[in-house]
């Protein structure tokens, strides 16, 4: 019983340990994770902050103020054409954008893990078939595909949007994981584990997975990034979609389509800045992880 509890505790603490150890190793990862943590904190606190600032009203409520107000003490970024508090929308947009990124990213990485490990580990015909499917999907342009599929949605909400983005984002990540599994699989200790009587699942989870872990991290960060890029580009392209699905991309497009581009920099710069910082933070994590586990790269990039 006690032993089991310790084991569970160990498993639960494992991800934190990994993060801590990585953060200790590498400046880029550290900066990336801290930056991302700020935005995650903003997203988590957003409902509370907006509840407090707006006295319990939803930031989405139309006509709360008059439209096109200039920034003031109580409205740091003024109001949008519908009279909504832009600062509240910015915080909310951060939460929605990150949520779409994470939900789609989780779907991506789960599919990629399954297919990548299956193809890489099984090899042979399974690998061949799975690789053909992955390659065929890889050549279909994801961006237009997702945009087109939104036509099928009865209503565009955050979950359905993340779902269709997530379902088509996995081929790239799958490729990355498959090649890593392939390279780990050939190492001598895998042979040893097999000889000592471990079954396939044990080999995959105990021997291969820990060694591929940094690449799972890289793949996850990449998937989140791609999902957010698709969503942002898509909102900017199809323009002002549902006005209640406030993401950072929507805010940029809103500012552009209202002609704020020239007159109201404070409306357009903050969402762009937030987007760029989120993208940069994920990329730093990505590059940092890659370097930490790929010493040759470290020498090459060595910045």
């Amino acid at each position: 019983m006690e032993a089991k509890r310790i084991k569970i505790k160990k498993i639960l603490l494992y991800p934190f340990k990994v993060i801590i150890s990585i953060a200790r190793m590498n400046l880029k990862t550290k900066i990336g994770i801290s930056l991302l943590a700020i935005f995650i904190a903003i997203s988590l606190l957003e409902p509370a902050i907006n509840y407090y600032r707006l006295n319990g009203k939803s930031p989405l409520e139309i006509g709360e103020h008059s439209g096109y107000l200039l920034p003031s003490y109580s409205l740091p970024l003024g109001t949008d054409p519908y009279g909504r508090d832009m600062f509240a929308l910015l915080l909310m947009g951060t939460r929605y954008t990150l949520t779409i990124g994470f939900v789609a990213g989780i779907i991506d990485i789960l599919i990629a893990l399954t297919i990548g490990f299956l193809a890489g580990y099984k090899g042979g015909l399974v690998d061949h078939a799975l690789r053909s499917i992955t390659d065929a999907l890889l050549v279909i342009p994801t961006w237009p595909l997702v945009i087109f599929l939104t036509l099928y949605l009865k209503q565009m909400d955050i979950l359905s949007l993340s779902l269709i983005i997530g379902i088509f984002g996995w081929p790239g990540v799958t490729r990355l994981l498959r090649s890593q599994v392939l390279s780990v699989k050939e190492r001598p200790y895998i042979e040893l584990a097999k000889l000592s009587g471990e079954n396939d699942l044990e080999v995959i989870f105990k021997e291969i997975a820990p060694n591929v872990l940094p690449y799972i991290g890289v793949g996850f960060a990449e998937a989140i990034l791609a999902a957010m890029m698709i969503e942002t580009g898509f909102r900017m392209l199809i323009g002002v979609g549902p006005i209640n699905l406030v993401t950072l991309g929507y805010l940029v497009k809103l500012a552009i389509s209202q002609g704020f581009l020239t007159t109201r920099l404070y409306a357009i710069i903050p969402p762009i800045l937030f987007l760029v910082l989120i993208f940069v933070s994920l990329n730093l994590i990505n590059i940092g992880l890659d370097e930490a586990y790929n010493p040759r790269l470290k020498k090459i990039t060595g910045i």
Partner: protein, 336 residues
């Protein structure tokens, strides 16, 4: 025993055809099998917007289905799609009804190819040169500044540059027009005014693409150069007392070009899907713009035409690269 070169070409070509068929089939069936009817949703939204009688609406849906052959059984539709595709016929478009889709694509294609190819090539050339210089001067201040800059710049999606470029260069400084491919005041044709107008209108979209993709090339070229600099034959060349410039151009640059040309070929394959956002932002009349226009009026055939074109481009670019590579690089001899 078949000649290995012929065998390689045949195998590569078969994979090409199969992947093309699988991808197209997948897209086609997905559009037709997914639950939910975009047509109904589309007409509902029109009714919500403009108000209309529901009888007229039911009639409109039927006319629409008939015009696009959507009322026939799925398998029949699919076979028609394939046979017409082989004939090069993509069906009538809705945007320019009854102009066929291939005609619309043909009209738009020069703009997309012109804008995207030129900017991709420019980004490649500039990125390769800058990356090589940075790699050559590895560890200096110049290297550090450029590398950090490249690291940051290459990761920012290009549409953000597009928006910022339109904002500062287009609106504030009023240097370049931000919409369209040429001014309405000039007559299209081979005259100086028209060409100048096209270049002016292309500058901002091209700039946003060049700025982002260039730094990607800088990073990859830098690591390539540095790994080549560590090779034995380079130390040997230095020990022989060869001139620095000769080592740089003949020994380092030349060897780095091959993987970069491969990557360029593959990158050029993605110009169709890459054109969607940039052309939407700048109102550029290319293939990507056709896609977003088709999206708004639910023009099935044009949307499918766009997918066919972009899948075809990606795969063909890959095929060309794979077939040409053994010719350029003596190390990759087929069958060896």
């Amino acid at each position: 025993m078949m000649n290995p070169v012929i065998k390689y070409v045949i195998v590569r070509f078969t994979t090409y055809i199969i992947t093309l068929a699988v991808a197209l089939t997948f897209v086609w069936w997905m559009f037709h099998l997914l639950p939910g009817d975009p047509l109904v949703l589309f007409f509902k939204s029109i009714i919500l917007k403009y108000g209309s009688q529901s009888q007229a609406y039911a009639h409109a849906i039927n006319v629409y289905r008939e015009a696009f052959g959507l009322d026939k059984p799925l398998l029949e539709q699919y076979i028609t799609f394939l046979t017409e595709l082989l004939k090069g016929n993509l069906g009538p478009s809705l945007i320019g009804f009854p102009t066929p889709v291939q005609e619309l694509l043909r009209r738009r294609l020069p703009w997309t190819i012109g804008l995207l190819t030129i900017s991709t090539l420019l980004a490649w050339i500039m990125g390769i040169i800058l990356g090589a210089l940075v790699g050559w001067k590895q560890g200096t201040k110049f290297d550090k500044i450029v590398s950090v800059l490249a690291m940051g710049m290459s990761q920012i999606p290009f549409y953000i540059f597009a928006v910022l470029g339109a904002l500062f260069l287009g609106y504030f400084l009023n240097l370049f027009p931000t919409s369209g491919a040429y001014s309405l005041r000039v007559t299209p044709g081979f005259n100086l005014d028209f060409i100048i107008s096209v270049i002016q209108h292309g500058t901002l979209p091209a700039l946003s693409i060049v700025l982002t993709s260039m730094f990607g090339w800088v990073i990859s070229q830098r690591s390539l150069i540095i790994s080549i600099l560590g090779e034995d034959y380079l130390q040997f060349a230095e020990a022989k007392g060869l001139k620095k410039s000769r080592i740089f151009f003949t020994y380092t640059m030349r060897n780095s070009l091959l993987p970069q040309i491969t990557a360029l070929g593959i990158g050029l394959g993605f110009i169709m899907s890459g054109s969607v956002i940039v052309e939407a932002i700048f109102n550029y009349p290319g293939v990507g713009r056709l896609f977003s226009e088709a999206y708004f009026v639910l023009d099935y055939n044009s949307i499918m035409g766009f997918f066919i074109l972009s899948i075809f481009t990606v795969l063909t670019a890959n095929l060309i690269v794979d077939l040409l590579l053994p010719l350029i690089d003596p190390r990759i001899r087929v069958g060896g």
